[in-house]
């Protein structure tokens, strides 16, 4: 069993989810007393059947919704106030959700703009982020001139531009074709290896979870309870071909069986 080593200079934050309960206005209980401890710099995948509350959990961590009871604390050390820690939070949705009237460059620069950074200082980090996802020739194009995969990469670049310490992704590549999806998985993993922020990645796909994450948590059907918390036993540097190895298959098997259990 490989130990996940977080470097002492890790930029990621830790998340402590304690007994969180979330009920929607319609009366539906999405989560009922969920607890989870996410370590700084960890890449954690969250799996579960549809409606189990994994997206809800992500939104709660992001601060977009409030739980009815329980708490979510974000810090890498107890002395950092949660509000400050949230400053470096980024969220990637299932669709790219770009501003169609802005160019790729201005879309990626948006978070910096909203945080009050002047135009002169926004351009360099934005171009860097765009280069990181390999879209440098498309800086001046508009979203409607890009393919689905390219739009998602812009969305990723936008998420990375503030150098977030916490990156939340909600099934971001689900709408893309297989090949693009795998490429983007690889790109994401590279970005993470370089920056080492905490990543919480919600997905339906066991293969994706195994490829990307250090750790996978499987939720049962609604209201989601953790039925498996599995450390992925694979080397840190994972290239495409690893998907074909028996070791990979074994890991996916574990998760698959957990999912199956959760359905019943």
């Amino acid at each position: 069993m490989q130990e996940i080593v977080t470097s002492p200079h890790a930029t990621g934050v830790g998340i402590e989810v304690r007994g969180v309960r979330r009920v929607f206005d319609s009366g539906v209980i999405a989560l009922d007393g969920l607890s989870l401890n996410i370590h700084p710099g960890e890449f954690i995948a969250i799996l579960g059947p549809s409606g189990c509350g994994k997206s809800t959990l992500l939104r709660l961590i992001a601060g977009l919704d409030k739980p009815q009871s329980g708490s979510i604390t974000i810090a890498d050390d107890p002395d950092t106030p949660a509000t400050k820690a949230r400053e470096h939070l980024a969220y990637v949705f299932q669709d790219a959700h770009l501003l169609p009237w802005r160019s790729v460059l201005d879309n990626v620069a948006l978070p910096l703009e909203l945080l009050g950074i002047q135009r002169g200082q926004r351009l360099a980090p934005s171009r860097q982020a765009i280069e990181r996802v390999g879209l440098s020739d498309a800086v001046d194009r508009y979203p409607n001139q890009l393919s689905g995969g390219m739009r998602m990469r812009v969305s990723l670049a936008r998420a990375m531009v503030t150098q977030p310490r916490l990156l939340l992704l909600d099934e971001p590549f689900a709408a893309l074709d297989e090949i693009t999806r795998q490429r983007l998985d690889e790109q994401l993993r590279e970005l993470w290896l370089a920056a080492r922020m905490t990543v919480v990645f919600v997905t339906h796909s066991t293969a994706e979870a195994v490829f990307l994450a250090d750790r996978a948590v499987v939720l049962s059907k609604r209201p989601g309870q953790i039925i498996a918390d599995h450390t992925i036993e694979l080397p840190p540097n994972r290239a495409g071909p690893i998907r074909a190895t028996p070791e990979f298959a074994r890991q996916t098997r574990v998760l698959y069986e957990a999912l199956d259990r959760g359905q019943t």
């Binding site: 601060g63 169609p100 978070p111 508009y142």
Partner: protein, 254 residues
């Protein structure tokens, strides 16, 4: 590129020919059904008067339209920020559209006197509702994920309105403006029936009423034609602006 204008022009010419033929064949007297040629003759013969009246109407219509655009969008922005405000006031904005000008013209005149102001106000009243309704729809249909994104980065409501909701609503705003342009012309002309100065012929509405009273429908039609052209031009201008504003990103201009 000019080929796209052939179909509507062809329709126009066909209608004119049919109209002329009908009038000639049925032998309808001129005071009942003016022939297109007669209308054209009136237009040319009286062109100085008609053009000065057109100028007057255009000024009032543009003023009313501009007021609709600015005030309508502002009202919509205000209503979009609060559910309670919306529930309380939105139903009443419909009244703008339904109030008959005949009833309010005297009241406006009492408040503002004669001249161009009550005409502009009439044009505004008649044309503002489509702007409010369409803009509001646009503002309320902003992509919720983008709203979340803005919230995530701590954007203040003003920033969200200016950088997200308004640009996102732009196609809807233009739709509202398209409808509003024609209505502004109608509101202007009808107000002129009651308020327009007669001797100098201030407004096409005055010309229409005078010509009708004198039993000269071809002159009345000529004035109506000019009013329609005015409305068409304003509509076309909105379309042009919409094209340039949206061409890079909106499906409607692709």
């Amino acid at each position: 590129m000019l080929w796209r204008y052939v179909p509507p022009i062809a329709v126009f010419v066909a209608v004119l020919i049919a109209w002329q033929a009908y009038a000639v064949i049925t032998g309808a007297p001129a005071y009942l059904l003016p022939k297109p040629l007669a209308v054209l003759r009136s237009l040319v013969a009286d062109r100085d008067n008609l053009l000065s009246s057109l100028g007057w109407t255009a000024l009032a219509a543009l003023g009313g339209f501009a007021a609709s655009a600015l005030i309508g969008v502002s009202i919509a922005v205000l209503l979009s920020t609060s559910t309670i405000l919306r529930r309380a006031f939105y139903p009443y904005t419909v009244f703008f559209q339904t109030v008959p000008i005949i009833a309010i013209a005297p009241m406006l005149v009492i408040l503002m006197g004669f001249g161009i102001l009550p005409v502009v106000v009439c044009a505004f009243i008649v044309s503002v509702f489509p702007v409010i309704a369409n803009t509001l729809t646009g503002l309320l249909s902003t992509d919720p994920a983008l709203v979340d994104l803005f919230r995530l980065y701590g954007a203040r409501p003003v920033a969200a309105m200016w950088k997200l909701r308004l640009p996102s609503a732009l196609p809807n705003i233009f739709t509202g403006l398209r409808i509003s342009a024609g209505l502004a012309v109608i509101g202007t002309v009808v107000a002129e029936f009651f308020v327009g100065e007669i001797v100098r012929g201030e407004g096409l509405g005055v010309r229409i009423v005078s010509a009708t009273k004198q039993g000269e429908p071809d002159l009345a039609f000529a004035a109506v034609l000019l009013a329609s052209l005015l409305g068409l031009t304003m509509f076309g201008a909105v379309n042009l602006i919409s094209h340039f504003a949206l061409r890079r990103w909106h499906a409607s201009e692709q």
